[in-house]
């Protein structure tokens, strides 16, 4: 697993309070019970902190799957 992918998975796991191996490419609000509107706000804040990036509200709102988050963060840090 790439370093960024691993780091994002760790952020997810910490925010959602689940094991890291519960996070994978299929992770979405439909597959992960802990991912709801409230934890989504916390997730965006945690990603900003972990990667030292800024995520505008209308960008963060559309990040609805793990792979969307991964693609977004990879673009932001590159």
């Amino acid at each position: 697993m790439s370093e960024i992918r691993q780091k994002i998975a760790t952020v997810f796991a910490e925010v959602m309070n689940v094991p890291t191996d519960a996070i994978n490419d299929n992770t979405s609000p439909e597959t992960l019970a802990e991912w709801d509107s409230l934890s989504h706000v916390q997730l965006i804040q945690a990603l900003e902190e972990a990667f030292k990036i800024s995520i505008a509200p209308d960008e963060g709102i559309d990040l609805e799957t793990f792979t969307m988050v991964l693609d977004f963060v990879q673009k932001k840090v590159s």
Partner: protein, 311 residues
């Protein structure tokens, strides 16, 4: 009981449509409905049916779902802003009026989306129940009433139903809200002419006689106004001595048209007192099982409702 076990065909179709449009709303609505009682399902079926009737040809389950998902997305965007900046994005009424209330087509989706939150947001439904079970019994014999900001018409129509002799004035800056509320009243089988529409900015003009009101609804309005406290103080002078006001607002509740930021219940109570009102009954609700204290510490949403009398 599950949704499928209730006789709620319109609600069922709306819930299915919501689920197809948003994974977040699918999850939250399914979770919520799994614990709802029979009273909820009866009320919800009635409300979605009336919303569809008020929309006329556009009144489909898909339209309701689309408006709800759109509205919740707007809220979630503001929640992301608020989490970062710790303040509401907009502070000026004219700006909000230009973005929201003055746009007729926009306002149709807005009032429908907001109307749907009265069912699918547990806190908002809690406020509806408080309104029906605690406020309405205090105004059953009311003859004259008013509402500031009728919005989707749920509370105004229920006031007319609960106080059969009341005649009212609907005060709103949006012609869309006034027209929509009339349609909701008609969808309940009542005479819309009992509710007189009054178009205008309540901050500039308050066309209500002093000491004339038995019942006043001032719900989810003060936080939308630049001069909310001035309006709230003036409204106290419009009440008869035994009149009752149904007041609601929210703390830490970002929205595209929220200007006045309350950070806790104490601040809300202070404003109520400063504006010349006494609290007779109260209702508060937070997200999940969070205490009010925790919500205040963590800048999380608190919904507040009260039955008031003028001091």
């Amino acid at each position: 009981m599950t949704l499928s076990e209730h006789n709620a065909p319109n609600l069922t179709r709306v819930v299915e449509a919501i689920g197809s449009k948003s994974p977040f709303q699918k999850k939250s609505s399914n979770q919520y409905l799994s614990t709802a009682d029979a009273r909820f399902f009866e009320f919800a079926e009635g409300w979605v049916s009336r919303l569809m009737a008020a929309l006329g040809d556009q009144g489909t389950p898909d339209k309701l779902a689309e408006a709800y998902v759109w509205y919740t997305k707007l809220i979630r965007i503001e929640e992301l802003y608020f989490a970062k900046e710790k303040k509401y994005r907009f502070e000026n009424f004219d700006e909000v009026n230009e973005r929201v209330y003055s746009r007729d087509d926009y306002m149709v989706d807005y009032v429908v989306g907001l109307g749907m939150t009265q069912l699918f947001w547990p806190n908002h439904y809690g406020i509806v129940r408080f309104f029906l079970d605690t406020f309405i019994p205090t105004v059953r014999a009311a003859k004259r009433g008013a509402e500031v900001g009728v919005g989707h018409g749920l509370f105004h129509s229920q006031l007319l139903a609960g106080a059969p002799e009341i005649e009212t004035h609907m005060l709103d800056i949006s012609p869309t809200s006034l027209a929509f509320t009339h349609k909701v009243i008609e969808a309940m089988g009542m005479d819309k002419d009992r509710a007189t529409p009054v178009l205008g900015d309540i901050q500039k003009q308050m066309p209500v006689e002093d000491e004339s009101l038995d019942a006043l609804l001032f719900g989810e309005a003060i936080e939308h106004l630049q001069e909310g406290e001035k309006v709230f103080s003036q409204l106290a002078t419009k009440m008869k001595p035994d009149g009752r006001c149904f007041f609601t607002t929210a703390a830490n509740a970002p929205a595209e048209d929220h200007i006045l930021l309350f950070r806790g219940v104490g601040e809300i109570r202070d404003v109520i007192d400063a504006c010349g009102w006494s609290i007779l009954e109260e209702f508060t609700a937070t997200l999940g099982d969070m205490s009010v204290e925790q919500a205040e510490r963590e800048n999380q949403n608190i919904n507040y409702a009260a039955v008031l009398a003028k001091k």
